[in-house]
């Protein structure tokens, strides 16, 4: 019996979404990196995260990288763009948390404007997951970034009307957040398109679990998302996927516990970097389009993984 490569073609494709600064995400016509049987016109994007207020309690491996810019989001974003070659910035609006600083929408919008003005790369703006506050702030952000095409989120089933309307008005893509469930993800996309948000203005955040902390759930949900989009050609599932993995990864005990406390775990810095890089690489294999990352060395590794995955000897299939 001679071998014939079993190729699979798909019926659907992922929408291509413009995210500002001339960049696009999505557009895949095949499973992640299956370049031997389909197209992946846009490489997955690595967005490095920047916070709008200093962060405490970070593991040393990442704290020392950003300690000089922690209190200046513009300098922080510039560092990611100029030194680390970030494809995009994800500005995490930690300051607006009602249980924290509870900063006003105006002050957040001011920061976003300053950061965006200082950069040549796209800026993604992300709230704290408090639906009411996020809605109030994201409306302002849409106005403040009018025309720049910055994706804003998270938007959930309780605030999508408020944020969706503003995003439509100012032409921002929205990031629709659901909690680890394929059906809920689809339902929110249906609600948003019914509201009038165009399909190519929606990116989805399916919830990201770090390695050892729910990555298995996240992996299978994303695989099922992509099967629905590509094989079943379900238009309400054909959105690019956004994974906010940095906060999850660097919260994992294994990424931060010192070698003194866990002598069998080995060097903490290596471990932290690999925790983030391995989580990100696994997400590449189940369909991510935007990875939000923190450690520059993990970013370098994941960029190498993307380039490695794109390097395929096509003639093999024909052999």
């Amino acid at each position: 019996m001679s071998f014939e490569a079993p190729l699979e073609t798909t019926k659907g494709n992922i929408h291509e979404v413009e995210i500002g600064a001339g960049r696009k995400v999505g557009g895949e016509t095949t499973f992640p990196f299956h370049l031997w049987e389909g197209e992946m016109p846009n490489s997955p994007l690595i967005a490095m995260e920047v916070y709008d207020e200093p962060q405490s309690g970070w593991p040393e491996a990442v704290r020392k990288v950003y300690e000089d810019v922690m209190d200046d989001p513009v300098a922080w974003a510039r560092k990611c763009q100029d030194e680390f070659g970030a494809d995009a910035i994800c500005l995490q609006l930690g300051s607006i948390d009602p249980n924290g600083t509870d900063a006003s929408a105006d002050s957040a919008a001011e920061t976003v404007k300053k950061v965006a003005a200082a950069l040549d790369i796209p800026v993604i703006v992300y709230g704290t997951g408090s639906p009411d506050k996020d809605a109030e702030v994201l409306k302002k952000i849409a106005e403040a970034t009018s025309g720049a095409g910055s994706p804003i989120g998270p938007v959930d089933d309780s605030n999508f009307r408020l944020v969706g309307a503003a995003a439509m008005g100012y032409k921002n893509p929205v990031i629709a957040f659901t909690s680890m469930d394929v059906n809920l993800a689809k339902q929110l996309n249906v609600l948003m398109t019914q509201l009038g948000v165009p399909e190519d203005k929606i990116i989805v955040d399916p919830t990201t679990g770090a390695l050892g902390y729910g990555l298995d759930y996240c992996y299978s949900i994303m695989e099922r998302d992509r099967l629905a989009a590509l094989v079943q050609n379900d238009a309400k599932m054909q959105m690019p996927i956004f994974n906010n993995l940095a906060p999850e990864t660097w919260k994992a005990k294994e990424a931060k516990v010192s070698e003194e406390e866990e002598p069998t775990f080995g060097d903490v810095e290596t471990r932290g970097i690999l925790w983030e890089a391995v989580t990100a690489t696994t997400l590449l294999l189940c369909g991510t389009d935007i990875l939000v990352m923190r450690h520059p060395q993990a970013v370098t590794l994941v960029r190498a993984a993307i380039e490695g995955l794109q390097a395929q000897s096509k003639e093999k299939v024909a052999s």
Binding site: M1, F3, H34, Y213, G214, T281, A305
Partner: protein, 448 residues
């Protein structure tokens, strides 16, 4: 191609003799149909049934065991492309490459690590298990193999182009089932003969999947079952492509010539020790059976071992924590007590927030078969008359006798009933709904 359980049952002896290890012929037939049993397990199978079933009954990816004893690695037996369709069966075996260039102390140190290194994660012990031995000198190969066996008991992969060298190294250890690596177009007959004589598994290696399939077919024609594939992928993209197409051919086309587990060597693909781990993670996520690294530094093996567990855990059985009292941040008798369910994600999320709060606390985890708080409440498992007796038996009273417990905000409605069930001075406080709000809650909490 594939026969249903019922179709297979009709071809069996129907005596329910149980000698196959299953209670009835029907049960055996169902397992055959699912690719979870082999026809050979039935001593009474007729030649006619064999011919009819042979093709249909073997698992699409053959089971291969390398090594013997505690560190033996069983791979293969896979039946799906996507883990959510059923589950992935056998976690990849992780190992280290030992070469003749290493000095004795270095080899002993690696073998010592293989023997000792293990991590506990959600109730499972995870560890590297494989030593791949590579030496151009045949005598050195045999000596290193013997040393590796004696000092670590690891599953062995013996690497050489020459069948005689492989035989010399494998023969004294043949009961330990070392994997001979590798038969190629050039040496297939000789290596296969050694594998047959010693009754050990062997790997086949070729530069294209077509050539690999030709070797696989040769092995099948000679009635070999324990074969491991190396498609010699040159780039990471080729790894993805080769592993995917091999698995797809086996599962979707029942293409037997590639219906075997694979072995991969990320250690030979890059000199960057961190990038090697990223490469290895692609092998592990995408179907590889045995993955060989250049060292066993725990900071590098830990993420890969966790990844193997994550990908190979059964998606239909939620990962569960053991029931019990978990101390966080060195709690004392006056520290707050939080009660929640044993769904692993619930535990991970809550424990990491409690940890982040820096507030010493007791986390009491109740076994509700791995369900989340709301699901378990709806199923009647995380309710007052179940929680009360559990708490009393949990031993928390001895550790923190203040009798004030905090329940998840999502089950606020059970607080009154739970207080009644507990009786005798217990106080039930309603906590927050979202784990992210735990630090603030705990910082404001006081026992009085």
């Amino acid at each position: 191609m594939a026969l249903s359980g019922l179709q297979i049952f009709k071809l069996l002896a129907k005596t329910n003799c149980k000698e196959c290890g299953f209670p009835t012929c029907m049960a055996f037939a169902m397992q055959l149909a699912a690719g979870k049993a082999e026809l050979d397990q039935c001593p009474y199978v007729s030649d006619e049934a064999k011919a009819a079933l042979g093709e249909a009954s073997a698992p699409p990816v053959r089971k291969v065991t390398v090594g013997a004893g505690d560190l033996a690695v069983t791979v293969g037996e896979e039946t799906v492309m996507y883990r959510h369709e059923k589950r992935f069966e056998n976690m990849p075996g992780l190992g280290v490459l030992i070469t003749e260039d290493m000095d004795d102390a270095q080899v002993s140190s690696l073998l010592g690590t293989l023997k000792e290194q293990q991590f506990n994660y959600v109730g499972r012990t995870l560890r590297p298990r494989v030593a791949a031995i590579k030496a151009a000198d045949a005598g050195r190969l045999a000596a290193l193999a013997a040393k590796a066996d004696a000092e670590s008991g690891a599953a062995l992969v013996l690497m050489h182009d020459d069948a005689a060298a492989l035989k010399a190294a494998a023969e004294p250890l043949k009961d330990k089932k070392p994997l001979l690596y590798a038969a190629t177009e050039a040496n297939f007959d000789a290596v296969a003969a050694v594998a047959k004589e010693l009754d050990v598994p062997f790997a086949i290696k070729a530069d294209t999947l077509g050539a690999l399939a030709d070797l696989g077919q040769k092995a099948l024609d000679m009635d070999f079952k324990e074969v491991v594939l190396d498609p010699s992928s040159a780039t990471l993209g080729d790894v993805l492509q080769d592993q995917t197409l091999i698995r797809r051919a086996a599962i979707k086309k029942t293409f037997r010539a590639l219906g075997f587990p694979t072995i991969g060597f990320p250690c030979l693909m890059t000199d960057d020790r961190l990038l090697e781990i990223v490469y290895a993670s692609v092998f592990i996520t995408k179907y590889a059976g045995i993955v060989i690294l250049s060292d066993l530094d725990p900071a590098r093996t830990l993420p890969l071992l966790y990844l193997g567990q994550n990908i190979y855990t059964d998606p239909q059985k939620p990962m569960q924590m053991d029931q019990g009292v978990y101390p966080i941040n060195d709690p004392t008798a006056d520290s707050p007590i939080l009660v929640t369910t044993n769904f692993s994600l619930t535990y991970f999320t809550v424990s990491s927030e409690v940890e982040a709060s820096k507030v010493p606390a007791w986390l009491v985890i109740m076994d509700v078969e791995g369900q989340s708080v709301l699901t378990a409440w709806a199923a009647g498992k995380f309710v007052a008359d179940a929680i009360a007796p559990f708490l009393k038996k949990s031993g928390i009273e001895e550790k923190a006798p203040h009798k004030k417990i905090i329940i998840p905000g999502y089950v606020a409605q059970i607080s009154g009933e739970l207080e009644e069930e507990l009786g005798d001075g217990w106080e039930v406080q309603v906590g927050v709904r979202e784990a992210a709000d735990i630090p603030k809650f705990l910082r404001q909490w006081s026992a009085n």
